[in-house]
Symmetry: C2
Subunit: 366 residues, 2 copies
């Protein structure tokens, strides 16, 4: 399923191949987020053009709407959304804790009210496995408890314990020939708990491990400490997936620490807010300064948007409330990250990743 | 500029070629509307795929935002919006009367307040010509006064008189080697006034004539009477353009009466409301009955949306508030009309347009 192709000599970065189900992907990889069975504003065809090999979709959202049974009835999520490449579904754990109202968590599972209509639901590890099997994604994730930030050691410890308990039940409940199941390491910013969580999950022998519970409010320094720490705790021969992290500087740091997979809503969310990535940093195209700027978003970018449209045109679309603005900015931002990873892979293969890391960060204003 | 290729033996329908500026179009043609320098949610590439040869953009909107000078500075509207095919700009007359607030019209011009920010503006025929020349569209339209519906004979007569006066001034003020100017026939539902308006404009010898002031509230019967009447009044060797009319049944009736060009916001507006054209009539995909309907929008449609996505998926996107719903429905609806015209042209060439007319309408529920 996962083959390492090349290790960078100066850091933990590596390139590899991930092959399972519909996935045939080079790693490290950035996976755009398609929360509600669509990467907002984009078609599968756009994503093929961009070069995306895996997208992430959200179990919590699809369970609530349109429901996993409807998607199963449609022939699975790939067929439902007309996507022929890789699909990873998260476990819903993070959304239960961040989106839903009135949640009550016990070892049995999580009771919560829907953020859509207030209806009451109870998710257990077994139920979460059934949902993801019905969705038919290529990679499923264990149901986990994501402790908030900040939280004290005891709270974080309990979340780790429950995450282990649930991971065992997920492992038992999961039966699929076409879907693999990844474990999620929790532990907040506490190194001992990250170690404990990693050991517990490794004892269950998952084909891949995710680093969960980051990018939830902690500082970049704290996040980077966990990432650096995790490298030594996870088996190098299995893929590592850093969940919910996608700022360009964080992707570079993640790869340096040997992370193979990333997902993040940032490129799509920034697009909705009228912002775009460039090699020099993020620009807010809706700002007045771009009103008569007839240059592309990023002169170095080869995407369809930068080939055809100016900042002035994009700003006009934003000011006029035109959806095409969101679509074009989303396309560009997703392209930017997917192709940043492609460039990083090239430099890893050439043994000069750290050179790329430093040169990119020198030009990129955070 | 306009060459008639084939006249149908049983009605006034004809096929032809329109060639001027960036336009190289077979007629009859449906022109999608790109009000604010974008056909809502679609890229130029989408429109090439769909087969659109001309799009309409709105002088009133572009004058107010981002301003014609900015667009001129960008290299013209084609360059600004990255569109390489035909562009027709309307005169702004209709929008001044339908969108703006506190308008005051005199023979000199129209004073009004912007619907965007309430700012005060004064448009004259000369100003409208300058704006359209700055935009650099392939076909410009004369500034006209569109009488409301209902209105009495005297009001309609005055609007015709002013439209003639303004048309003369437009003719004089218009200087372009790459843009042609069409006249707009007014006259509301009064045959004598339509005759008067047509004669006045024909005396100015425009390369094309538009039928304005329809689809503003009158009944279909009244609209069809004007269309049928206009055929005898306009020169057959010049293109005829029926403004703002685009329901499939109206397109068919228009072609029967010898109309060559149509534009309408209906396909894009319906998409925003969750509706789609099919050969059987319009369907409202957001309705509950499509929740588990895994068929395409229209089984007979060859568009990208019908090839890849089900009604159930589109309904899910609508319910989830996903923009991709608007985009896919817009694509389908525009494709539907553009390709309805293509099919009509084929049947005109084969001398069996009336057969197509009757068979389409027999299956299409209005």
């Amino acid at each position: 399923m996962f083959t390492i192709e090349k290790n960078d000599p100066l850091c933990q970065a590596r390139t590899g191949w991930l092959k399972t189900g519909h996935i045939e992907a080079e790693t490290p990889i950035f996976m755009p987020v398609g929360t509600q069975a669509t990467v907002k504003t984009l078609t599968p065809e756009d994503l093929y053009q961009i070069g995306a090999s895996i997208i992430l979709s959200n179990t919590y959202h699809l369970y609530l709407r349109p429901g996993e049974k409807l998607i199963k009835h449609a022939g699975g999520l790939h067929r439902f959304m007309n996507w022929e490449r890789g699909l990873l579904t998260d476990s819903g754990g993070f959304q239960v804790f961040s989106l839903s109202a009135m949640r009550r968590i016990s070892d049995e599972g999580a009771e919560f009210r829907s953020h859509i209509d207030g209806s009451s639901h109870f998710l257990t590890p077994e139920k979460v496995m059934q949902i993801q099997m019905d969705l038919g994604s290529d990679i499923a994730m264990c149901f986990d408890e994501c402790a908030p930030y900040p939280c004290n050691y005891e709270e974080a410890r309990q979340a780790v314990e429950r995450t282990t308990l649930w991971a065992k039940r997920c492992r038992e409940a999961h039966h699929s020939d076409s879907q693999v199941l990844f474990g999620i390491v929790q532990g907040n910013v506490f190194p001992e708990l990250r170690l404990k969580s990693a050991e517990d999950l490794m004892a269950l022998d998952f084909p891949g491990y995710a680093i969960g519970g980051l990018s939830v409010g902690e500082s970049k320094q704290e996040m980077y400490h966990v990432m650096q720490n995790m490298d030594g705790l996870l088996p190098r021969e299995r893929p590592r997936y850093l969940m919910g992290v996608g700022a360009p500087e964080d992707l570079l740091e993640g790869m340096r620490c040997g992370v193979d997979m990333f997902d993040c809503v940032l490129p799509t969310r920034l697009a909705r807010h009228g912002s775009a990535y460039t090699r020099g940093g993020r620009i807010t195209v809706r700002n007045r300064e771009y009103a008569e700027d007839f240059l592309p978003l990023d002169a170095d970018c080869g995407c369809m948007v930068c080939q055809g449209f100016s900042r002035a045109y994009l700003r006009h679309l934003i000011k006029a409330g035109e959806m095409l603005a969101h679509r074009l900015l989303t396309y560009h931002n997703v392209y930017f990250l997917v192709n940043l990873m492609k460039e990083a892979r090239e430099t890893i293969r050439q043994g000069r990743y750290m050179e790329f890391y430093h040169s990119f960060l020198a030009g990129y204003q955070i």
